[in-house]
Symmetry: C2
Subunit: 384 residues, 2 copies
């Protein structure tokens, strides 16, 4: 049986460990194959005498839930299980309310824990539930997508979407532990893996040119699995952890992590979060290429760097142009409207993450809306 | 015109100031007549360049909204106004969702502020909205009931009720400023004033015997208004601020503030939060008398202290017995069930705040459910 084999593997190979230094809210990210089978023991060690509510989605549950439940049972950790429909649509008020209710229904107490087993959707929703039931309960992230392993499970941002935009309601709530089992990625659809890869590339682009170069060399091995995969995830987590430690509540440097995201979020909103047309990481891939292109246009970035970025993203099969999104796209004005309501807006001025080149992103708080409109108009005209 | 008179008064009489020391989350509570008229200037000073959303209830708005709006206008602070139906029923999911939506609709940004003008219901709901819109916005409390001035506006607890119990969903979110305008209490119904007075008495009972004795002497003046009122509020806020500073997230000493509340919350749940039968502070009055009585029964507290407490609460017109609540009461078992789901429950054992006497409360984590059942059975039999 595969589960047992995996357990045997972990007992010999220790996972990689990335500490997130946030004072009394510090925690570890563990990265390795077989952490699902280890989860019970590790949770019991970190949160002694806790019961847990596992929150997962139906797709993830098919592949990985039983092994997690068995591991909790073996460690004597009582649990309830709450399953959501897969997809971005679960990050909404009514589901949040239902999950809160189910956690209370399971009579979890304030020192019990919420365990999120799934991608960023499960993590963001379950994290907000953990932040708000009894005004805050311990939270364990078990990310099962590449995107959530390198990004959403690190840093404590949680939340849901509302009609005004993505993630506009939520909380900062740090996990007590992150268990990133890289074996779970074996069941992830290639398209989702690629989407997560876009966020991995982001860390290179925003502050680590040598990591980007390493990815240009090693991307095939990262996709195929093996030690390079864990290494890429650990480097990404370390990069994010450093930024989060500097700016837990996103009042400054943390905004750098939004490279590609202002465009990306607008694209996601425009397709109404329809995952068949665009998943988050694909939006980010297009958004990063747009951020480089816009930076070139503003005379900030050499065009060669933009071309290298576009080439690398395309080489792994990621979209890089708005026209790569299937279906109709609205005019540039719609993008501007959506970006103006985006939470990165500050006092009416548009805030963007721009670049001086690969590995050198910065926060620009005074982007001229007219320049942006022109840029988007040309972009939409060029390929449609 | 009354507003102008009040403004004139404040300009000469400085409000009392109670600092709440919570590191980078520290803030001031200002207590005095006429702070509504001053609010615009004080908010602009504390949160420069912010716009605000005023959250209030329809009753409070009738009496005090216009003066607040005028004050904001005079100070050049832009605002939106969001009104709720008065009463505990507004502390629920659907209202929370609507208010979040209205705040986003008003296009408030992350550095803009939510201003709660009202009692504990408005403060708890608006505070949770402030905690969660854009993962946290600045929050200003303008409490207009005695209860909210001495209790709910201090300490950062926010939240809503669900079918499993009161305040089970929420956040710790400290205000940036608390403006307690004691003139607003002039329009408060006497019953609500008395309810708030119960929380004021609580500070004497839990840790300050001399304050309780002072209240026995001065309660008439506190009810009538005048300097004793502001003094009683300031002493209460100082007492709460000290406990909150020691234990912001209620992992220890802060539980002392629940004196009378485990019983009180159960009573509120049993009447289904029907404010015509029981308001929060009345539940606390009965709960405090029960806590003293239970402590006497356990041989912890001299009966004279219980009698003094009961006599003082009754002398101002507060209920002290379950049988003082109009309508039918269920059997003791129902209370136990509700208390077992209460958030103060820890790992199946009942936690209660008990007393060794007036001014000497302590946290007892191992209350015997059988002793409690006997006590409640006798209590329900004695007067019904
Ligand atoms: N909190 C943060 O800091 C942060 C950062 C980035 C993104 N996000 C959020 O993350 C979300 C996107 O996350 P995501 O891309 O992980 O999406 P997701 O959670 O929807 O997962 C993508 C799909 O893959 C499936 N899946 C997940 N794990 C699987 C596995 N191991 N095997 C097979 N199928 C699997 C899911 O059922 C889903 O259909 C967005 O809502 C985004 O806003 C949050
Ligand atoms: N967050 C905390 O730490 C904390 C502490 C204690 C209580 N609470 C909560 O506070 C709530 C009770 O607060 P409350 O007693 O202030 O209730 P409330 O807000 O419902 O106010 C009581 C009534 O008085 C009216 N009112 C308020 N101010 C008025 C004024 N100045 N003039 C005329 N009418 C006025 C209101 O419209 C309402 O009908 C409960 O929900 C309780 O859970 C919270
Ligand atoms: Zn992202
Ligand atoms: Zn109270």
């Amino acid at each position: 049986m595969t589960p047992q084999t995996a357990t045997a593997e972990t007992e010999t190979e220790a996972p990689l460990r990335v500490p997130v230094a946030l004072g009394e809210r510090s925690y570890d990210i563990l990265i390795g194959r077989g952490l699902v089978e280890d989860a019970g023991a590790r949770i019991a060690e970190r949160l002694p005498r806790s019961r847990v509510a596992i929150v997962s989605d139906e797709t993830v549950a098919t592949h990985h839930l039983e092994r997690l439940q068995a591991s909790l049972e073996a460690a004597g950790v009582g649990f309830a299980t709450i399953l959501l429909p897969p997809g971005e649509a679960s990050k909404r008020f009514s589901v949040y309310e239902t999950v809160c209710d189910r956690v209370l229904e399971a009579r979890l107490e304030r020192n019990d824990a919420i365990v999120a087993l799934g991608g960023g959707v499960v993590g963001d929703l379950a994290g907000f539930v953990a932040a708000s039931v009894r005004r805050g309960m311990p939270f364990v992230q078990m990310p099962t997508t590449l995107l959530s392993q390198v990004d959403s499970s690190v840093g404590g941002k949680t939340g849901i979407n509302v009609r005004h935009g993505k993630n506009l309601i939520g909380a900062f709530h740090q996990p007590a532990l992150v268990l990133a089992d890289t074996a779970t990625l074996d069941t992830l659809p290639p398209r989702e893996f690629r989407a997560g890869y876009a966020e991995t590339v982001k860390y290179g682009l925003l502050g680590d040119a040598s990591f980007f170069a390493w990815l240009e060399e090693n991307h095939a091995a990262v996709f195929a699995g093996g030690a390079e995969r864990e290494e890429a995830i650990a480097i990404s987590c370390r990069a994010k952890a450093a930024i989060v430690a500097e700016d837990e509540f996103e009042t400054g440097a943390r905004a750098l992590l939004n490279l590609g995201h202002t465009f990306g979020h607008a694209l996601e909103a425009i397709v109404a979060y329809d995952g068949t047309r665009l998943v988050h990481g694909e939006g980010v891939a297009i958004g990063m290429r747009l951020a480089f292109d816009f930076s070139v246009r503003l005379g900030l970035c050499p065009p060669q760097d933009r071309d290298r970025v576009a080439a690398h993203l395309a080489s792994v099969g990621l979209p890089t142009h708005i026209s790569d999104i299937p279906g109709q796209m609205p005019p540039a004005e719609s993008f501007l409207d959506i970006m103006a309501q985006d939470k990165k807006v500050s006092r009416g001025a548009l805030t963007f993450i721009l670049v001086r080149g690969i590995g050198d992103a910065f926060i620009e708080r005074g982007v001229d809306p007219a320049a942006l409109r022109d840029f988007l108009t040309d972009e939409l005209a060029s390929r449609s």
